[in-house]
Symmetry: C2
């Protein structure tokens, strides 16, 4: 998600903040990238061709970087974090590919994603391949505990994606349902990616849990910022179209807050645009105006700041170190994207 969005050169300041954090594990990240390219090879050329589109395009690799930095934070000295960071990225990429699958209705709305080029089926099957490859890599690593963490995270992510589908176009979706969705679809993999760092280093449960909390809260902050920016960012700044969630009728927190606090006219507007998917060109601007009236973007970002604070707090269990500082900078970068 953000990986693509952040390619834009206008984001240089935030890019630099993240790059500084990433620099600490630069060599390991190069090894992760090499492994990703190696392991997405197949006798069926369409697989690397399509996977390259996403996985080798040089996204920010925020999730594998979490695994690398968490292992560093835990003083781990081996090389297992390389393989496991690649697994995490493969799982993420498979999710992205499957998230791109569209229905006829989406096609009519003129969406252009991987499937515009390849049809619906190829991205699904290549996603399955990458997902299987992730498990092959984990099995080669040989830790049943890591396998348990990542297979569970994968099931939770799929549940979260289905829950998101169910809550879309339904204005009865409340804050609790929203947070359940983003914890599952986004925070679960951030949490697993971070937790693994403690697991490979064989650290005590308290440290493993602290890193899990760090990842979970960072993931929540990350998604909240994403959902806020979908209504707030200028296209030039982010290299993405504003209003995708609006067009899809996704019941994200800004909309939930504006609907809850809106008057009858506003509620009718949200039901028409979100539930009936009856939208005109001017509706996005109207939506933004209602969101502004209720400070819905700001209040969403406040929640992101709270989650970011909890993520930073979880790091305090660990003594100060370059790795701790880098993880903290990733938190800063995640919320700074919004400002």
């Amino acid at each position: 998600m953000s990986a693509v969005r952040l390619e834009n050169p206008h984001c240089a300041r935030h890019q630099n903040a993240f790059d500084a954090a990433r620099r600490l594990v630069e060599d390991e990240l190069s090894a992760v990238n090499a492994l990703i390219v190696e392991r997405m090879q197949s006798q069926v050329p369409l697989i690397p061709e399509l996977a390259r589109h996403l996985v080798a395009a040089g996204g920010k690799r925020i999730r594998p970087v979490l695994t690398l930095l968490a292992a560093r934070l835990c003083d781990y000295r081996g090389t297992r974090q390389i393989d496991l960071a690649a697994c995490v990225e493969f799982i993420h990429t498979a999710t992205l590919l499957h998230d791109d699958v569209v229905d006829e209705s989406d096609l009519r709305r003129g969406r252009s994603t991987a499937n515009a080029l390849w049809g619906n089926k190829a991205p699904v099957l290549v996603g399955d391949f990458l997902f299987s490859r992730a498990f092959e890599l984990m099995v080669a690593d040989g830790s049943l505990k890591v396998l348990q963490i990542l297979s569970h995270a994968s099931a939770v992510i799929a549940e979260g994606e289905v829950a998101q589908l169910v809550t879309a176009n339904d204005m009865a979706t409340d804050e609790a349902a929203y947070f359940a969705v983003i914890k599952a679809k986004t925070a679960a993999l951030f949490e697993a990616a971070s937790r693994i760092g403690a697991v490979v280093a064989d650290r005590p449960p308290a440290e493993e849990e602290a890193l899990a909390t760090f990842g979970e809260q960072l993931g929540i902050a990350f998604q909240l910022v994403d959902d806020a920016l979908d209504y707030a960012a200028s296209q030039a700044l982010l290299g993405k179209t504003v209003g995708d969630d609006f067009v899809d009728g996704k019941t994200t927190l800004p909309v939930i807050l504006a609907y809850r606090d809106g008057d009858d006219t506003e509620r009718r507007f949200w039901r028409r645009t979100m539930e009936d998917q009856n939208q005109t060109r001017a509706d996005l601007q109207q939506a933004q105006s209602y969101l502004a009236r209720h400070r819905a973007i700001e209040r969403t970002l406040e929640r992101a700041l709270e989650a970011a604070g909890r993520a930073r707090g979880a790091l305090e269990l660990f003594p100060a170190s370059p790795a701790r500082r880098a993880l903290s900078e990733i938190v800063d970068f995640t919320v700074a994207r919004a400002y």
Copy 2:
């Protein structure tokens, strides 16, 4: 695939042949079915709702039955085969769900599958959930060897499905390419399902390999029969529409043989209908007539009989037993479907 097709009461004779083989592991299969229903539960109700559509509809469960019978053949006395048979069925069901994903062009051709009810996205995400659940179950079983076998099989299946996509609508597809596709997309899971029986029983490599060969050859026979019946079966007999592969432009063995041995007129026909997907209502009958001229269905079924013979041959390593007889009867049933 066949699971659905064989529900038809007209198939009573073959149904009985399979039921006899299955009766030997009836209690275990009930435990597998209970576990499947239990493990497809989720806090997101759409998941069991959609999964039930396929996984709990009471298919023939040919793949999990292979695991149960292979374990029995190897004198295994524990209960691990139950969980692993459920894993195998979950992987198969995830594949079916992902195979149902359609493109706009398919929708235009009026296909009706799970996604006609649920859209494209839900089946993909529920497939991911079942796939993740399969891995969670395997991790709980705790055998890295089993995990290695099934994660590798999953990657091979995905590769096979992509390869099938690439060879569709391409009359340059030859026999070797066809067999590579069916080995990967179908035989790999039959092979893994059978191999696992020897693995849980901790049998020597020769027996594990014999069961793997049995499963692989059975899977090849199974797919060859499926591909022959797609042009040959009467709709009443199989409860399915004849000509699905023709409409999809899948380059299955009957078509490959008829194209190779056809004259210029025939080759132009196959290129128009398969490659250009330019088909009229009368073309299926024309296709069947060309296939008949070259005995393409019979020759495809001869290959199935050869593979079935190799599957039976692989069982000879094992002493005669009710389990060996049941596995042999499954081979009979697989090819008998065609006659």
